[in-house]
Amino acid sequence: MEDNVKVSVQHLNKKFGQLEVLKDISVEIKEGEVICLIGPSGSGKSTFLRCLNRLEEITGGKVIIDGHDLTDEKLDINKVRENIGMVFQHFNLFPRMTVKENIMLAPVQLKKMTKEEAEQKALALLDRVGLKDKAETYPSQLSGGQKQRVAIARSLAMNPDIMLFDEPTSALDPEMVGEVLAVMKDLASQGMTMVVVTHEMGFAREVGSKVIFMDGGYIVEQGDPHEVINHPKQQRTIDFLNKVL
């Protein structure tokens, strides 16, 4: 394996009972790459993303993150997850904690930082996503875009080197999409390895190093974002893009 391969997915298979949602997926993701997963709903892209930190149990094949085989039963999955940030469509902020406490929870509980260090880190991260003044606020008082930016800050608190985004802008009002994408662009420009499930073709084209189009549990087409989005080769990709663009 090359040194800079962060994620290696080999013949990944995922079944929910009898239903096969991922079929023989193989992908390699190198350090600093931004992979955008596109495709119709039900195509398996979110499930694929969730297999990368084992929020979904893997039925077949292998997922190797930084040399750790996620299918290894002896693996301490919590240790691996510390290095993989995840951002959800519905934010999933902890409602009973302030914004600052949301961000501090993992570093303090996992003894990565003292309370003071975690607080400094939280404020620095909030500054980075443009929400320093919201540190003491509860999530219910924030707008959708602000919530998602806090969620990004929270997932960055453990200093992950891979970030997973599961349709981060799909639950947002249109005018709030931009502020979240801006934070993601900023992350990408600083060399973060990112896997993004998205319907934002503009973002995929501008920021993505690679676009993967999935349908029916298969990877149908992948490659350079401009190539895949502007000149798709497969009929299913063409049909899908015609509908969304």
């Binding site: 919590n78 999933n92 902890f94 993992a106």
Partner: protein, 232 residues
Amino acid sequence: MAVFFENIGKYISRFNDAFVVTIELSIISLILATIIGIVVGLINTSKSKSIIMKILKFISNIYIVIIRGTPMLVQILIIYFGIAQVLRPTGFSWLRLGGTFGAGVVALSLNAGAYMAEIVRAGIEAVDIGQIEAARSLGLPYSKTMTKVVLPQALRTMLPSIINQFIISIKDTSLLSAIGLAELTNVGKTVASTWTSQTMSLFCLMALYYLVMCTVLAKVAKIVEKRLSYGR
């Protein structure tokens, strides 16, 4: 009525003593019931596939079925008289464990514990799965996810049901009069049997003690509920 107020002074200290017994019984039992409820509730919501967990789940399910499916009075009789009879050859006697008070605590805790377990289970299951996924994706283990993220949220949802159970259990202490425990109902009955001209007034006085206890608890609960409403 005048006769009642002129003479009640002779008996009031007996009522007050019984009131204290009822309160002690309730507090001790409800603390134990809460512990039982949390432990059994956590066992029943665990997704672990280990054999030990499966056995524990099986046991706790049987426990809940038995408690929910039998009257509390029957449970009290089984625990006080039944257990004593079966264990007599081993030298066991409830006298060594606080007599009727000890048996009352056991019966009340086991009874309320089963209902509390169901309240805890429902409360945990009502927490959005996304909360658990967010915590786990940060690298928090299951135990910390429960104690730091899930249970604090579940507590707010569970609180009204927990208080409801507390109130039911406080009133259920009256059933312990059946084994001769000197709690309110038992003492009330005894006094009423010697002062037969005042049956109504004595029983109403007895009822008033329960009414005050339960109402105060309900009021306190409302205040706590309000305080726990932040972040909503």
